[in-house]
């Protein structure tokens, strides 16, 4: 045993570089670990199960996964037991033959599985792109939300969409903040609903109104009012919440 004081050396552990750090200042431990980080990774896998053993478990796990994704698509036929046998034997002999393994049967169906997969991936990408472009167009021009306005004057459609979105967000926020105070929320909501009702009546008039420009401007102004009202309501709630927070009675 090394002359190292009372230290008992565990024979399983490798004798590492024994760096003895005597007195330094505060973050001694951190520095010590940092400086000797490599030495800390000295533990080997248990000798009873040498590295290869663990690899075999990993490999068979991977095989099983491939098999599952494979059987789902192509490998429901009768040839699979045959392939199974081949696969197993190649696995057991596999590791000692360090690496170079020509033509494993597994390679035969693997690309097919992949190409099937990549088709699915491609299809879903197309779907995503379509959906994405729809949402983009929608947010730009608000086709789905404001068809009347888009029809009347696409220049305003975007503003209307943005405002209504803002209003929705703020309303959600308001609702959340007044959770503990439903009475207050109801009061706020009736004020808002009044404005909203006049907005809806303006909107209903839109198709038959000859002077659409003026009407749309009125609608946007209404939306502006709503936002302003919401801002003030939120402000009030914040003040109330802060007060109850500071001196909870």
């Amino acid at each position: 045993m090394p002359a190292f004081g009372v230290d008992r050396v565990n024979n399983k552990k490798l004798t590492t570089k024994r760096s003895v750090v005597t007195n330094m200042k505060k973050d001694n431990l951190e520095r010590f670990v940092r400086d000797n980080r490599e030495a800390f990774d000295d533990r080997e896998l248990r000798p009873s199960s040498p590295g290869n053993d663990l690899w075999q478990r990993i490999e068979s796990g991977l095989d099983k996964q491939l098999e599952q994704s494979g059987t789902n698509q192509i490998r429901s036929d009768s040839s699979s037991p045959f392939q199974q046998i081949h696969k197993n034997s190649s696995r057991t002999e596999g590791l000692l033959a360090e690496g170079f393994r020509p033509n494993r049967p597994i390679d035969g169906w693997l690309p097919t599985a992949w190409s099937g997969l990549s088709w699915r991936v491609a299809a879903s990408i197309v779907v995503l792109l379509l959906a994405g472009s729809f949402f983009y167009m929608n947010s730009q021009y608000g086709v789905a939300h404001q068809p009347e306005i888009v029809a009347a004057d696409p220049r305003y459609a975007k503003a209307v969409v943005q405002y209504t979105q803002l209003i929705d967000d703020k309303r959600a926020e308001l609702k959340q903040m007044t959770e503990g105070n439903p009475a207050l929320y109801r009061e706020f909501a009736t004020d808002l609903d009044r404005l909203e009702k006049s907005y809806q009546s303006l909107k209903a008039d839109l198709p038959k109104n000859p002077n659409q420009d003026v009407l749309i401007k009125a609608m946007i102004q209404n939306l502006n009012f709503q936002i302003e009202l919401l801002n003030q309501q939120l402000h009030v709630i914040q003040r109330i919440n802060r007060q109850t927070h500071e001196n909870p009675v």
């Binding site: 009372v6 750090v21 330094m24 001694n28 010590f32 670990v33 248990r46 663990l54 796990g61 393994r101």
Partner: protein, 194 residues
């Protein structure tokens, strides 16, 4: 084989793994088993269980290697998987992180004032093996936080994410764990398990 001046020297191997090449998987495995085993062992604190976790982690990594985009090194990516797996494993076996959240003051961490005080690290002979042994003796919550912070280079924000605890908890746990570790290092291991 071919080592190239890539930021990650395993780029080639990774690419081949992404094509499902078993040989490349084995090569990467060999490159990283030992380091990852040590990471795992520090967290799990049990050799056989560490191997099980490692097995799952490698299978996970290889079957999801398609999602590896090279934003970090492969090693860092793999380590993330290993750490997450290890922590999940601890969770499954009733991780004592529960006791970590409820700060049971003074139950096993001695006098509480020490949190704010500078540690008396002076005179302690820090030495790899003894640190390892002391880590082994630490309560689980301390051990996990310590090994993530001290050894794996996680910061407290990252730890709080992985362990689902607050950053403050991570910090205090770290300080307490460290204090405990230093205490363990101070008392001579005269009759410890040998």
């Amino acid at each position: 084989m071919d080592s190239k001046p890539y930021p990650d020297r395993h780029t080639d191997l990774v690419k081949r793994c992404q094509q499902g090449e078993r040989r490349a998987q084995f090569d990467l495995y060999q490159q990283y088993v030992k380091a990852m085993y040590n990471v795992c062992l520090r967290i799990v604190n049990h050799e056989a269980e560490a191997e099980d976790v490692l097995q799952e982690a490698f299978i996970d990594a290889f079957s999801h290697i398609g999602t590896f985009r090279g934003q970090s090194t492969f090693g860092a990516w793999l380590k993330q998987i290993v750490v997450n797996r290890a922590i999940n494993h601890l969770r499954g076996r009733r991780l004592e992180l529960v006791g970590l959240e409820s700060n049971r003051v003074g139950e096993d961490d001695g006098p509480d004032f020490a949190d704010a005080e500078p540690y008396d690290e002076e005179g302690i002979q820090l030495e790899v093996e003894r640190v390892q042994r002391a880590m082994h003796q630490l309560p689980e919550g301390y051990r996990v936080v310590l090994s993530l912070y001290l050894f794996e280079g996680y910061d407290h924000e990252e730890i709080s994410n992985v362990l689902n605890i607050s950053e403050t908890t991570s910090r205090t746990q770290y300080l307490r764990g460290k204090k405990r570790l230093l205490e363990l290092l101070q008392c001579r291991p005269s009759g410890s398990t040998g």
